[in-house]
Symmetry: C2
Subunit: 149 residues, 2 copies
DNA sequence: GATGGGGCTTCCCACCATGGGAAGGTCAAG
DNA sequence: CTTGACCTTCCCATGGTGGGAAGCCCCATC
């Protein structure tokens, strides 16, 4: 398979296939005389595997570890399970955090008239009222950064 | 206040204060003869406001709108409420999505022996078994992108 | 008055995963 | 042989943030 074929078959763009090779996530593909990358079924499956792991929201670092286990016939399922459960725990904690944000914001919105008057408790709260309804993380960085890890 | 002072007082780094000015989120600060930026209480509060909105996970685009409303004495609370509820809805849908991922991964992990044997349903599933336990989005991009979008 | 240190300025670089696009080589179908 | 689709490498942009360099400025201390 050419890179375009393996891209279509695996659902990973050709750009990303080259990128994954570049950063060492997948082994350098053998080349034809003209320099074209050549892939087989195994590489196609590996790329599908990576794409699914991405869909699960797994960070690249963890995917690297899983890829290593994937290619290792002597792996222990313990290691795989550990990585998976670690990610489950992180997802759960992010869920809790986002829920807290949503709840706080919802409560504030409920207290807002929502009419043509300018007075609004949402802006008052954002402007520095310390009587928070729900705990919001105090770190300087937004949750997206922590999600992106 | 100098930029360093307003940074400390607001909890936004000096770098980010310049960045916010650069991208038009805050108005260009007046300068001393030597070119130093000068800030007052109002700017400090605005920066606190922005930082809090970031802590809430609000995307920059929405923060821009809120900042405009914040500085507008004639604003309608309706507009603020609409933006807040919009963000609540998005947070809730992200929560649901992350929960689905966590559930699927958890179920797979539960089916994994977790011992020294190599066989593991997690890797089998990631490798292309289509009998998904829980719906996972089929888009090619991971959830982080959608979250950040 | 000179000197030193810390703060300010601008500008460039890096991150990460991804896409866009240009310039140039290759392959296959007509 | 031509044409068009595909491949190659290389550079650039994103967005929010930090790091750092080069150079200017201000204040305090000697």
């Amino acid at each position: 398979m050419n890179i375009g074929e393996v891209a279509t078959a695996s659902g990973v763009s050709a750009k990303m296939v080259r990128y994954y090779e570049h950063v060492g996530l997948i082994a350098p593909a053998p080349r034809t005389e003209a320099g074209y990358r050549v892939y087989g079924q195994r590489e196609m499956h590996l790329l599908q595997f990576i794409r699914r792991a991405r869909d699960f929201g797994l960070p690249m670092e963890r995917i690297k570890q899983l890829v290593a286990l994937w290619g290792d016939d002597n792996r222990a399922s313990r290691d795989v399970k550990r990585l998976a459960l670690q990610h489950v725990a992180e997802l759960r904690s992010k869920v809790a955090e986002l829920n807290a944000m949503a709840n706080t914001l919802k409560e504030l919105a409920d207290q807002c008239h929502g009419d043509s008057r300018p007075d609004c408790p949402i802006l008052r709260d954002l402007s520095g009222n310390e009587h928070r309804v729900t705990q919001v993380p105090k770190t300087g960085r937004g949750f997206r950064d922590r999600l992106a890890g």
